[in-house]
Symmetry: C2
Subunit: 359 residues, 2 copies
Amino acid sequence: MSSSKNYRWGVLGTGYAAREFTSGLQSLENATVTAVGSESSERASNFAKSHSIETSFGTYDEVIHSDSVDIVYVGTVAPLHRKLCLQAIEAGKPVLCEKPFAMSAAEASEIAALAKAKSVFCMEAMWSRFIPLMVDIRSRIRSGEIGEIVSVAADFGLRQTPLSNPRLFHPEQGGALRDLGVYPISLAVEYLGMPDDVRITCAFGQGGADVRAGGSLHYQTGAIATVMADISAATPTVATIIGTEGFIEIQSPMYRPTRAKITHTSIPGPATQSSKSRSGVSARVHHVASAVKRQLLKSGKSLAAGYRGNGYQYQAREVMECLDRGLTESSTMPLSQSIEILKVIDLGLLSKNKTPTDE
Amino acid sequence: MSSSKNYRWGVLGTGYAAREFTSGLQSLENATVTAVGSESSERASNFAKSHSIETSFGTYDEVIHSDSVDIVYVGTVAPLHRKLCLQAIEAGKPVLCEKPFAMSAAEASEIAALAKAKSVFCMEAMWSRFIPLMVDIRSRIRSGEIGEIVSVAADFGLRQTPLSNPRLFHPEQGGALRDLGVYPISLAVEYLGMPDDVRITCAFGQGGADVRAGGSLHYQTGAIATVMADISAATPTVATIIGTEGFIEIQSPMYRPTRAKITHTSIPGPATQSSKSRSGVSARVHHVASAVKRQLLKSGKSLAAGYRGNGYQYQAREVMECLDRGLTESSTMPLSQSIEILKVIDLGLLSKNKTPTDE
C-alpha cells in the first residue's frame, strides 16, 4: 500500500539527521519538504537552499505553525524533543521525532499522553524498523518461521573520540546508550517486549557521557536479550534473533541491514540405541558434539533486500500511510514501545556500576 | 615445543567425552592410553576393546592407582569430578578433568587446594583454549593487535529435548549453564577476568535442568561480557572479542573454531570543518552515519587455522608439556580461572528469575 495524498513536511533542525531525512524524503513522490527551521536563521536558510526547500525560519515555532506544513519532523538534538513534540501536537500537527525519542521515559509518556488526548499522530523515527529487510524479517517471524522468540542479541559500536565526534560524547546530546544503544534495545523490545529486569551498566567518559553501555534484559517468560553499545570502540554491529525453531543473524550494520541468514532447526530424534546402550546411570557422558550431530541443523538460507536512497524515507512513508488511514499511531513503532525503550535506557543510565573510563 | 617423554594415560569414564578424548590422544606420538575404568566392568572392557587399550577396570580407583598410569583423565559425569580428582591428586597422579570442572566453585577450590598442597598437576579440560585458531587469537590479543579488551560476547545453543539427549537435560549431569555456558563464560573469564557483578538468569525445564541461561558480566573497569546458553534452541554459537582498536569475530562453532575475522579500526580524525561550521550549541546533530564514515574501518582480515583429528588432543599435549617442565598448573588454563568460571555459574544457577519453561 502506498499513500496517494501529497504531504508537506516541516523539518526542525539542520544537522546530520535532518539532512539525511530530507534527502530520503525527497525520493518519495507524495512528500515535499516545504519548510525548515533552526534556532539560527542562517543555518535554516543555508539548509533550505542546499535542499531546494521553499521556506526557512529562524525559529522552530514558525515551522510548526506554518500553514504550508502538514507533518512535523523533529530532527534536533534530543534535549529539545519533548518541547517540540508537545508544541507540534498542541498545534494539531502529526509528528515524527528522532531517536532517542526523549530524554527519559517520563518525557516520552508526557508526549504520548498529549498525542492521545489530542488524537494527533506521533511516532519515534526508528527508521531501522521500516528498512525492507527488517520488514521481511518481521513478516517471517510473525508467520512463525523460527518459532517462539526466546532470545535477542544486538550490538552497535563505533570507534570515536570527543574530537572526532563532539556531539556523540556530549552527555545529553549523545552517549552510547541513547545514541547507539537505542537500536539494539528497540530490537529487543520489539520482539520480546518490556523486560522484567534490566541489568545494563555504563562506563562514563571524562566529559560525562556514557562511552560504553551494555548488559542484559531478563523476562519472566525465561527469554533473555543482550545488548551492547560503544562510542569509543567499534563492535561488529550485528543482531541475532533466536527462536525455538531457528534463528536469524542480521549482518552489519544492524541499523540498516541488507543481508541476513535464517537457519531452521529440526526436532532431533531420540538418542540412538547404540549410544543408549553405552550409557549407565552414573556414566552417561553423551557429550555436546554428539548432540550437535543429532541436531540435524539445516544449513542457513540467505536473506537479502536492498533499500532505495539512504533508507530514511521508509519511516516517512509509514507516517503518511498511517495518516491516510486516520491512525494516530504506527502499529510497527507504537509509542508504548518508545516509552519502554526509554525505560530500559533510564535504568541503564542509573546503573550503580558507574565507572570512569578514559576516552 | 613438543613433549618428548612418553606419558601413559588412564581414562575414567566411557561416555562420549571419554571416547572423543581417547581418540584424540591416540593421535599423539608420545601418549598412550594404558587403562580405562568405569563403574561397570563390561562397559570398561568394551571401551578397552574398541580403543585397543591394554587394561580395563570395573572401578575408577584401580585406574588411579595403577602403576601403568602416569596421568588421569576424568571424563565421567560432573557430579563425580570432585571425588575422582581428589583421589587422583592424593595418589600423586596429575589430572585433566572434564568441564564443568566441578559442581560448584567450592568444590573446585577444594580440588585446587589439594593440588597445591600436594604439588600435583591439575587442569580443567577446557579443550577450546588449545585449538590452534584460539592459540593464534590469544597470541594476537596478547601482542595488542586489537588494543585493550573491553567486551566479550559469546553464545552456545543446541536444539535438543529430554528424549534426544537425556543427559543434557539431567539437572546435575547437564543443564545449559554447566554444559554449554561454560564455554562462553570461559572465554569471558580468560580475557576479562572475574566479573564484579554477574547477572545471569535461568529458565528451568520440567525435569529440573536449566534449559536456557544467559545474561551479562560486569566489571569495575567498565568492561562488559554477554553470554547465552541454550539446550532447547539452537543459537549461532559464535563469539566476539572487542578491543579498543579492533575486534575479532569467531565463527561457529565457537568451542572448536577454524575461522575468524579480525577487524582493525583506526583513530578517527577530528570532525571536518564543514560539519563543524554547521553545528551550533543546540543543533549539533551530527548523526551516527557520519561517524561511521569518519571511522575509516579497515576491512576485516580472515583468520583460519584447522585442527588435526578431533581437536581433543591439544589440551593433552599442554598437560604433558607442563609436566615436562615440572609445572603443577597450565598458565593457559589455570585453576584460579576454573574456580572463577564456576563462581559465575554458581551465581547464574542461584538467580532469582527462576522461571519454569516448557521443554
